[in-house]
Protein backbone atom coordinates (compact mmCIF):
# COMPACT_ATOMS: atom_id res chain seq x y z
CA UNK A 1 0.00 0.00 0.00
CA UNK A 2 2.97 2.29 -0.15
CA UNK A 3 2.89 3.09 -3.81
CA UNK A 4 2.27 6.68 -4.78
CA UNK A 5 -0.46 7.83 -7.05
CA UNK A 6 1.07 7.97 -10.47
CA UNK A 7 -1.99 8.23 -12.56
CA UNK A 8 -2.53 11.33 -14.67
CA UNK A 9 -6.22 10.89 -15.25
CA UNK A 10 -6.61 9.13 -18.52
CA UNK A 11 -3.41 7.28 -19.31
CA UNK A 12 -4.50 3.81 -18.25
CA UNK A 13 -8.23 4.10 -18.86
CA UNK A 14 -9.36 1.20 -21.01
CA UNK A 15 -10.46 2.20 -24.53
CA UNK A 16 -14.03 3.07 -25.31
CA UNK A 17 -14.90 -0.30 -26.82
CA UNK A 18 -13.78 -1.85 -23.56
CA UNK A 19 -16.67 0.00 -21.89
CA UNK A 20 -19.10 -1.34 -24.47
CA UNK A 21 -17.79 -4.88 -24.08
CA UNK A 22 -17.78 -4.64 -20.30
CA UNK A 23 -21.42 -3.56 -19.97
CA UNK A 24 -22.52 -6.14 -22.51
CA UNK A 25 -20.68 -8.86 -20.69
CA UNK A 26 -21.99 -7.80 -17.30
CA UNK A 27 -25.60 -7.65 -18.47
CA UNK A 28 -25.34 -11.02 -20.19
CA UNK A 29 -23.93 -12.47 -16.98
CA UNK A 30 -26.81 -10.94 -15.03
CA UNK A 31 -29.33 -12.36 -17.49
CA UNK A 32 -27.67 -15.75 -17.12
CA UNK A 33 -28.12 -15.58 -13.36
CA UNK A 34 -31.77 -14.53 -13.68
CA UNK A 35 -33.15 -16.51 -16.61
CA UNK A 36 -36.71 -15.49 -15.71
CA UNK A 37 -36.15 -12.02 -17.07
CA UNK A 38 -35.27 -13.50 -20.44
CA UNK A 39 -37.94 -16.18 -20.50
CA UNK A 40 -40.96 -14.13 -19.40
CA UNK A 41 -41.13 -11.98 -22.56
CA UNK A 42 -40.79 -15.15 -24.63
CA UNK A 43 -43.73 -16.76 -22.88
CA UNK A 44 -45.65 -13.54 -23.32
CA UNK A 45 -44.86 -13.61 -27.04
CA UNK A 46 -46.07 -17.18 -27.36
CA UNK A 47 -49.24 -16.41 -25.41
CA UNK A 48 -50.22 -13.39 -27.50
CA UNK A 49 -49.76 -15.55 -30.59
CA UNK A 50 -52.01 -18.17 -29.02
CA UNK A 51 -54.71 -15.68 -28.08
CA UNK A 52 -55.25 -14.47 -31.60
CA UNK A 53 -56.57 -17.66 -33.26
CA UNK A 54 -58.79 -18.20 -30.22
CA UNK A 55 -60.30 -14.76 -30.74
CA UNK A 56 -60.82 -14.71 -34.50
CA UNK A 57 -61.23 -18.38 -35.30
CA UNK A 58 -58.85 -21.08 -36.49
CA UNK A 59 -59.63 -21.12 -40.22
CA UNK A 60 -56.51 -21.79 -42.28
CA UNK A 61 -56.72 -18.88 -44.73
CA UNK A 62 -57.38 -16.41 -41.95
CA UNK A 63 -54.31 -17.58 -40.04
CA UNK A 64 -52.15 -17.52 -43.14
CA UNK A 65 -53.32 -14.02 -43.92
CA UNK A 66 -52.92 -12.55 -40.45
CA UNK A 67 -49.85 -14.55 -39.33
CA UNK A 68 -47.13 -11.99 -40.15
CA UNK A 69 -49.04 -9.17 -38.53
CA UNK A 70 -49.86 -11.07 -35.37
CA UNK A 71 -46.30 -12.30 -34.92
CA UNK A 72 -44.96 -8.80 -35.39
CA UNK A 73 -47.40 -7.17 -32.99
CA UNK A 74 -46.64 -9.87 -30.42
CA UNK A 75 -42.89 -9.36 -30.87
CA UNK A 76 -43.32 -5.62 -30.46
CA UNK A 77 -45.29 -6.03 -27.23
CA UNK A 78 -42.87 -8.62 -25.86
CA UNK A 79 -39.92 -6.31 -26.49
CA UNK A 80 -41.78 -3.48 -24.82
CA UNK A 81 -42.36 -5.70 -21.79
CA UNK A 82 -38.67 -6.46 -21.45
CA UNK A 83 -37.58 -2.85 -21.99
CA UNK A 84 -39.04 -1.80 -18.68
CA UNK A 85 -36.27 -3.40 -16.71
CA UNK A 86 -33.46 -2.04 -18.86
CA UNK A 87 -32.27 0.72 -16.52
CA UNK A 88 -34.38 0.27 -13.39
CA UNK A 89 -32.06 -2.00 -11.43
CA UNK A 90 -29.03 0.09 -12.41
CA UNK A 91 -30.88 3.17 -11.23
CA UNK A 92 -31.87 1.62 -7.93
CA UNK A 93 -28.55 0.07 -6.92
CA UNK A 94 -26.44 3.05 -7.96
CA UNK A 95 -24.77 1.49 -11.00
CA UNK A 96 -26.13 4.35 -13.07
CA UNK A 97 -24.21 6.82 -10.90
CA UNK A 98 -21.09 4.80 -11.57
CA UNK A 99 -21.74 4.95 -15.31
CA UNK A 100 -22.23 8.70 -15.19
CA UNK A 101 -18.94 9.35 -13.43
CA UNK A 102 -16.98 6.81 -15.40
CA UNK A 103 -14.38 8.02 -17.91
CA UNK A 104 -15.99 5.89 -20.58
CA UNK A 105 -18.28 7.74 -22.99
CA UNK A 106 -21.82 7.18 -21.74
CA UNK A 107 -23.27 6.44 -25.21
CA UNK A 108 -20.87 3.49 -25.50
CA UNK A 109 -21.89 2.08 -22.13
CA UNK A 110 -25.52 2.53 -23.11
CA UNK A 111 -24.90 0.85 -26.43
CA UNK A 112 -23.34 -2.06 -24.56
CA UNK A 113 -26.40 -2.40 -22.39
CA UNK A 114 -28.73 -2.16 -25.37
CA UNK A 115 -26.71 -4.77 -27.23
CA UNK A 116 -27.06 -7.11 -24.26
CA UNK A 117 -30.77 -6.35 -24.19
CA UNK A 118 -31.09 -7.30 -27.83
CA UNK A 119 -29.10 -10.49 -27.33
CA UNK A 120 -31.37 -11.51 -24.46
CA UNK A 121 -34.73 -10.35 -25.81
CA UNK A 122 -34.66 -9.74 -29.57
CA UNK A 123 -32.52 -12.65 -30.59
CA UNK A 124 -34.44 -15.28 -28.58
CA UNK A 125 -37.64 -13.94 -30.16
CA UNK A 126 -36.12 -14.45 -33.59
CA UNK A 127 -35.38 -18.08 -32.76
CA UNK A 128 -38.72 -18.82 -31.11
CA UNK A 129 -40.78 -17.20 -33.86
CA UNK A 130 -40.46 -20.06 -36.42
CA UNK A 131 -42.27 -22.45 -34.08
CA UNK A 132 -45.22 -20.09 -33.84
CA UNK A 133 -45.03 -19.17 -37.52
CA UNK A 134 -45.44 -22.80 -38.47
CA UNK A 135 -48.60 -23.05 -36.37
CA UNK A 136 -49.85 -20.12 -38.44
CA UNK A 137 -49.19 -22.22 -41.57
CA UNK A 138 -46.43 -19.99 -42.80
CA UNK A 139 -44.34 -21.60 -45.58
CA UNK A 140 -40.69 -22.20 -44.73
CA UNK A 141 -39.36 -19.71 -47.29
CA UNK A 142 -41.43 -16.97 -45.66
CA UNK A 143 -40.28 -18.01 -42.19
CA UNK A 144 -36.74 -17.10 -43.22
CA UNK A 145 -37.83 -13.64 -44.31
CA UNK A 146 -39.73 -13.20 -41.09
CA UNK A 147 -36.72 -14.13 -38.98
CA UNK A 148 -34.62 -11.63 -40.92
CA UNK A 149 -37.15 -8.81 -40.45
CA UNK A 150 -37.52 -9.65 -36.77
CA UNK A 151 -33.76 -9.66 -36.29
CA UNK A 152 -33.34 -6.27 -37.97
CA UNK A 153 -36.48 -4.81 -36.44
CA UNK A 154 -35.76 -5.82 -32.86
CA UNK A 155 -32.36 -4.10 -33.06
CA UNK A 156 -34.15 -0.82 -33.76
CA UNK A 157 -36.79 -1.61 -31.16
CA UNK A 158 -34.18 -2.19 -28.45
CA UNK A 159 -32.38 1.02 -29.37
CA UNK A 160 -35.49 3.20 -29.59
CA UNK A 161 -36.88 1.57 -26.50
CA UNK A 162 -33.74 2.38 -24.57
CA UNK A 163 -34.50 6.08 -25.12
CA UNK A 164 -37.96 5.64 -23.62
CA UNK A 165 -36.66 3.49 -20.79
CA UNK A 166 -34.05 6.16 -20.00
CA UNK A 167 -36.66 8.92 -20.00
CA UNK A 168 -39.00 7.07 -17.65
CA UNK A 169 -36.46 5.53 -15.27
CA UNK A 170 -37.21 6.50 -11.69
CA UNK A 171 -40.76 7.69 -12.37
CA UNK A 172 -43.64 6.26 -10.37
CA UNK A 173 -45.87 5.52 -13.32
CA UNK A 174 -42.97 4.59 -15.55
CA UNK A 175 -44.38 1.36 -16.96
CA UNK A 176 -47.54 2.74 -18.53
CA UNK A 177 -45.73 5.86 -19.63
CA UNK A 178 -43.03 3.85 -21.38
CA UNK A 179 -45.59 2.16 -23.64
CA UNK A 180 -47.20 5.50 -24.41
CA UNK A 181 -43.84 6.96 -25.44
CA UNK A 182 -42.46 3.99 -27.34
CA UNK A 183 -45.41 2.63 -29.31
CA UNK A 184 -45.71 5.62 -31.67
CA UNK A 185 -41.97 5.49 -32.24
CA UNK A 186 -42.06 1.76 -32.90
CA UNK A 187 -44.92 1.91 -35.37
CA UNK A 188 -42.85 2.39 -38.54
CA UNK A 189 -40.67 -0.60 -37.66
CA UNK A 190 -43.72 -2.79 -37.33
CA UNK A 191 -45.23 -1.49 -40.57
CA UNK A 192 -42.03 -2.25 -42.47
CA UNK A 193 -41.44 -5.64 -40.87
CA UNK A 194 -44.95 -7.08 -40.99
CA UNK A 195 -45.54 -5.92 -44.55
CA UNK A 196 -42.27 -7.27 -45.86
CA UNK A 197 -43.31 -10.68 -44.49
CA UNK A 198 -46.80 -10.37 -46.00
CA UNK A 199 -45.27 -9.53 -49.36
CA UNK A 200 -42.97 -12.53 -49.14
CA UNK A 201 -46.01 -14.69 -48.38
CA UNK A 202 -47.71 -13.54 -51.59
CA UNK A 203 -44.52 -13.92 -53.62
CA UNK A 204 -44.15 -10.18 -54.14
CA UNK A 205 -40.97 -8.16 -54.00
CA UNK A 206 -40.26 -7.63 -50.34
CA UNK A 207 -36.69 -6.30 -50.51
CA UNK A 208 -37.81 -2.67 -50.04
CA UNK A 209 -39.01 -3.50 -46.55
CA UNK A 210 -35.79 -5.31 -45.66
CA UNK A 211 -33.60 -2.47 -46.91
CA UNK A 212 -35.71 0.09 -45.07
CA UNK A 213 -35.49 -1.95 -41.86
CA UNK A 214 -31.73 -2.24 -42.30
CA UNK A 215 -31.41 1.50 -42.86
CA UNK A 216 -33.58 2.13 -39.82
CA UNK A 217 -31.41 -0.16 -37.71
CA UNK A 218 -28.22 1.56 -38.82
CA UNK A 219 -29.66 5.02 -38.24
CA UNK A 220 -30.88 4.15 -34.76
CA UNK A 221 -27.60 2.39 -34.02
CA UNK A 222 -25.73 5.60 -34.68
CA UNK A 223 -28.18 8.09 -33.12
CA UNK A 224 -30.18 6.40 -30.36
CA UNK A 225 -27.27 5.87 -27.90
CA UNK A 226 -26.67 9.63 -27.78
CA UNK A 227 -30.33 10.34 -27.07
CA UNK A 228 -30.40 7.60 -24.43
CA UNK A 229 -27.25 8.92 -22.79
CA UNK A 230 -28.69 12.44 -22.68
CA UNK A 231 -31.95 11.11 -21.27
CA UNK A 232 -30.13 9.11 -18.59
CA UNK A 233 -28.16 12.16 -17.47
CA UNK A 234 -31.41 14.08 -17.15
CA UNK A 235 -33.33 11.30 -15.40
CA UNK A 236 -30.60 10.63 -12.87
CA UNK A 237 -30.25 14.26 -11.76
Amino acid sequence: MNQTISNEGQRDIPGMFAGLAATTKRDLLLAWKRPGDVLNPLFFFAMVCTLFPLAVGPSAEQLEFSGPGVLWVAALLATLLSLNALFISDFEDGSLDQFLVSPQPLPMLVLGKTLAHWLTSGLPLVFVSPILAITYRMPLSVVGVMMLTLALGTISLSLLGSIGAALTVGLHRGTALLSLLILPLAMPIMILGANAVSLAATNDIYSTGIWALGAYAIASLSLAPYATAAALRISNE
Binding site: I13, P14, G19, R26, D97, Q98, L100, N236
Partner: protein, 204 residues
Protein backbone atom coordinates in the same frame (compact mmCIF):
# COMPACT_ATOMS: atom_id res chain seq x y z
CA UNK B 1 1.91 15.78 -10.01
CA UNK B 2 -0.48 17.72 -7.86
CA UNK B 3 -4.05 18.35 -8.73
CA UNK B 4 -6.55 20.97 -7.82
CA UNK B 5 -10.30 20.77 -7.53
CA UNK B 6 -12.20 23.98 -7.03
CA UNK B 7 -15.70 25.31 -7.23
CA UNK B 8 -16.67 28.86 -7.86
CA UNK B 9 -19.98 30.53 -7.06
CA UNK B 10 -21.96 27.26 -7.04
CA UNK B 11 -25.73 27.67 -6.83
CA UNK B 12 -28.29 24.92 -7.02
CA UNK B 13 -32.06 25.16 -6.95
CA UNK B 14 -34.04 21.95 -6.74
CA UNK B 15 -37.75 22.29 -7.26
CA UNK B 16 -38.86 24.86 -4.73
CA UNK B 17 -35.81 25.21 -2.56
CA UNK B 18 -32.49 26.87 -3.10
CA UNK B 19 -30.10 24.28 -1.66
CA UNK B 20 -26.94 26.35 -1.69
CA UNK B 21 -25.93 29.68 -3.08
CA UNK B 22 -22.67 31.24 -4.17
CA UNK B 23 -20.64 28.50 -2.61
CA UNK B 24 -16.93 28.34 -3.35
CA UNK B 25 -14.14 25.99 -2.32
CA UNK B 26 -10.68 24.89 -3.36
CA UNK B 27 -8.96 21.60 -2.69
CA UNK B 28 -5.33 20.69 -3.32
CA UNK B 29 -3.64 17.32 -3.50
CA UNK B 30 -3.15 15.79 -0.09
CA UNK B 31 -6.15 17.39 1.55
CA UNK B 32 -9.71 16.61 2.44
CA UNK B 33 -12.94 18.49 1.83
CA UNK B 34 -15.82 17.77 4.17
CA UNK B 35 -19.35 18.87 3.31
CA UNK B 36 -21.27 19.12 6.55
CA UNK B 37 -24.89 19.59 7.38
CA UNK B 38 -27.99 17.92 8.70
CA UNK B 39 -29.69 15.12 6.83
CA UNK B 40 -31.58 16.31 3.78
CA UNK B 41 -29.91 19.70 3.66
CA UNK B 42 -28.42 19.25 0.22
CA UNK B 43 -25.00 17.70 0.95
CA UNK B 44 -25.71 14.85 -1.39
CA UNK B 45 -26.88 17.25 -4.08
CA UNK B 46 -23.73 19.29 -3.66
CA UNK B 47 -21.37 16.33 -3.87
CA UNK B 48 -23.26 15.01 -6.88
CA UNK B 49 -23.04 18.42 -8.50
CA UNK B 50 -19.30 18.60 -7.92
CA UNK B 51 -18.89 15.13 -9.42
CA UNK B 52 -20.81 16.33 -12.47
CA UNK B 53 -24.02 14.37 -12.03
CA UNK B 54 -26.26 17.36 -11.38
CA UNK B 55 -26.32 20.45 -13.49
CA UNK B 56 -25.81 23.61 -11.48
CA UNK B 57 -27.99 26.67 -11.71
CA UNK B 58 -24.90 28.81 -11.68
CA UNK B 59 -21.19 28.44 -11.06
CA UNK B 60 -18.46 26.18 -12.35
CA UNK B 61 -16.41 23.32 -10.98
CA UNK B 62 -12.78 23.34 -12.08
CA UNK B 63 -10.37 20.42 -12.32
CA UNK B 64 -6.79 21.72 -12.49
CA UNK B 65 -8.27 25.16 -13.24
CA UNK B 66 -10.18 23.97 -16.30
CA UNK B 67 -14.00 23.81 -16.20
CA UNK B 68 -14.94 20.16 -15.83
CA UNK B 69 -17.35 20.20 -18.79
CA UNK B 70 -14.35 20.80 -21.01
CA UNK B 71 -12.32 17.91 -19.58
CA UNK B 72 -15.12 15.59 -18.57
CA UNK B 73 -13.27 12.44 -19.50
CA UNK B 74 -10.04 13.36 -17.73
CA UNK B 75 -11.97 14.51 -14.69
CA UNK B 76 -14.10 11.38 -14.48
CA UNK B 77 -11.01 9.32 -15.17
CA UNK B 78 -9.44 10.87 -12.08
CA UNK B 79 -12.20 10.16 -9.62
CA UNK B 80 -13.98 7.29 -7.99
CA UNK B 81 -17.45 7.51 -6.50
CA UNK B 82 -18.63 5.84 -3.32
CA UNK B 83 -22.16 6.38 -2.10
CA UNK B 84 -24.93 4.79 -0.13
CA UNK B 85 -26.15 3.02 -3.23
CA UNK B 86 -22.99 1.10 -3.92
CA UNK B 87 -23.44 0.44 -7.63
CA UNK B 88 -22.64 -3.22 -7.12
CA UNK B 89 -24.85 -5.95 -8.49
CA UNK B 90 -26.50 -8.19 -5.92
CA UNK B 91 -26.65 -11.09 -8.34
CA UNK B 92 -22.93 -11.13 -9.05
CA UNK B 93 -20.09 -12.25 -6.84
CA UNK B 94 -17.49 -9.93 -5.38
CA UNK B 95 -14.91 -10.91 -7.99
CA UNK B 96 -17.35 -10.50 -10.87
CA UNK B 97 -18.42 -7.08 -9.62
CA UNK B 98 -14.89 -5.78 -9.23
CA UNK B 99 -13.86 -7.35 -12.53
CA UNK B 100 -16.46 -5.16 -14.25
CA UNK B 101 -15.03 -2.04 -12.61
CA UNK B 102 -11.53 -2.86 -13.83
CA UNK B 103 -12.79 -2.59 -17.39
CA UNK B 104 -14.13 0.92 -16.88
CA UNK B 105 -11.48 2.73 -14.93
CA UNK B 106 -7.74 2.91 -14.48
CA UNK B 107 -6.78 0.35 -11.86
CA UNK B 108 -3.80 0.17 -9.57
CA UNK B 109 -1.14 -2.46 -9.80
CA UNK B 110 -1.49 -3.68 -6.26
CA UNK B 111 -2.58 -7.19 -5.50
CA UNK B 112 -6.37 -7.45 -5.00
CA UNK B 113 -5.83 -10.21 -2.41
CA UNK B 114 -3.96 -7.79 -0.15
CA UNK B 115 -6.81 -5.31 -0.36
CA UNK B 116 -9.44 -7.97 0.37
CA UNK B 117 -7.36 -9.14 3.32
CA UNK B 118 -7.08 -5.68 4.75
CA UNK B 119 -10.81 -5.03 4.42
CA UNK B 120 -11.61 -8.43 5.89
CA UNK B 121 -13.57 -9.68 2.91
CA UNK B 122 -11.22 -12.26 1.45
CA UNK B 123 -13.43 -15.11 2.64
CA UNK B 124 -16.44 -13.64 0.80
CA UNK B 125 -14.93 -13.62 -2.67
CA UNK B 126 -16.99 -16.41 -4.14
CA UNK B 127 -20.29 -15.33 -2.60
CA UNK B 128 -23.10 -13.55 -4.38
CA UNK B 129 -23.28 -10.01 -3.06
CA UNK B 130 -26.96 -10.29 -2.20
CA UNK B 131 -26.06 -12.76 0.55
CA UNK B 132 -23.69 -10.32 2.28
CA UNK B 133 -24.67 -7.90 5.01
CA UNK B 134 -24.96 -4.19 4.27
CA UNK B 135 -21.68 -3.55 6.08
CA UNK B 136 -19.89 -6.22 4.07
CA UNK B 137 -21.24 -4.80 0.84
CA UNK B 138 -19.89 -1.44 1.91
CA UNK B 139 -16.47 -3.00 2.31
CA UNK B 140 -16.67 -4.42 -1.19
CA UNK B 141 -17.37 -0.90 -2.41
CA UNK B 142 -14.32 0.26 -0.48
CA UNK B 143 -12.26 -2.43 -2.16
CA UNK B 144 -13.36 -1.11 -5.53
CA UNK B 145 -12.21 2.33 -4.47
CA UNK B 146 -8.82 1.11 -3.31
CA UNK B 147 -8.21 -0.93 -6.43
CA UNK B 148 -8.78 1.99 -8.74
CA UNK B 149 -5.75 4.14 -9.27
CA UNK B 150 -7.16 7.65 -9.14
CA UNK B 151 -6.25 10.78 -7.18
CA UNK B 152 -9.75 11.95 -6.28
CA UNK B 153 -12.14 10.11 -3.97
CA UNK B 154 -15.76 11.10 -3.68
CA UNK B 155 -17.46 9.66 -0.61
CA UNK B 156 -21.12 10.35 0.09
CA UNK B 157 -21.92 9.35 3.68
CA UNK B 158 -19.09 6.80 3.87
CA UNK B 159 -19.83 5.79 7.46
CA UNK B 160 -23.38 4.50 7.13
CA UNK B 161 -23.84 0.76 7.58
CA UNK B 162 -20.37 0.42 9.09
CA UNK B 163 -19.48 -0.68 12.62
CA UNK B 164 -16.95 1.20 14.78
CA UNK B 165 -14.10 -0.82 13.39
CA UNK B 166 -15.23 -0.08 9.86
CA UNK B 167 -15.44 3.63 10.53
CA UNK B 168 -11.91 3.70 11.89
CA UNK B 169 -10.79 1.78 8.83
CA UNK B 170 -12.37 4.32 6.48
CA UNK B 171 -10.65 7.16 8.31
CA UNK B 172 -7.32 5.35 8.07
CA UNK B 173 -7.78 4.74 4.37
CA UNK B 174 -8.58 8.39 3.71
CA UNK B 175 -5.57 9.45 5.74
CA UNK B 176 -3.30 7.14 3.79
CA UNK B 177 -4.74 8.24 0.49
CA UNK B 178 -4.22 11.92 1.28
CA UNK B 179 -0.73 11.37 2.63
CA UNK B 180 0.16 9.72 -0.67
CA UNK B 181 -0.93 12.85 -2.49
CA UNK B 182 -4.52 11.94 -3.12
CA UNK B 183 -7.50 14.09 -2.33
CA UNK B 184 -10.92 13.35 -0.97
CA UNK B 185 -14.35 15.01 -1.00
CA UNK B 186 -16.66 13.70 1.69
CA UNK B 187 -20.26 14.44 2.63
CA UNK B 188 -20.97 13.49 6.21
CA UNK B 189 -23.54 14.35 8.84
CA UNK B 190 -21.47 13.26 11.80
CA UNK B 191 -18.20 14.63 13.12
CA UNK B 192 -15.22 13.40 11.22
CA UNK B 193 -11.73 13.74 12.62
CA UNK B 194 -9.01 12.76 10.20
CA UNK B 195 -5.44 13.83 10.59
CA UNK B 196 -5.02 15.59 7.23
CA UNK B 197 -5.39 19.20 6.09
CA UNK B 198 -9.14 19.63 6.04
CA UNK B 199 -11.48 22.20 4.55
CA UNK B 200 -15.01 22.23 5.87
CA UNK B 201 -18.05 23.54 4.04
CA UNK B 202 -21.20 23.93 6.09
CA UNK B 203 -24.56 23.85 4.41
CA UNK B 204 -27.53 25.37 6.20
Amino acid sequence: MTHKLSGDNLTLIRGERCLFQELSFALESGSLLILEGRNGCGKTSLIRAIAGMLSLEEGTVYWDDVPVERVRQTFHGSLVWLAHRTGLKGDLTLVENLGFERLLRAHSSQDPEEVYERLGISRLKKLVLRSLSAGQQRRVALARMLLSNVPLWFMDEPFTNLDREGRVLVMELVEEHCSRGGMCVMAAHQDVEINVPTTRVKIQ
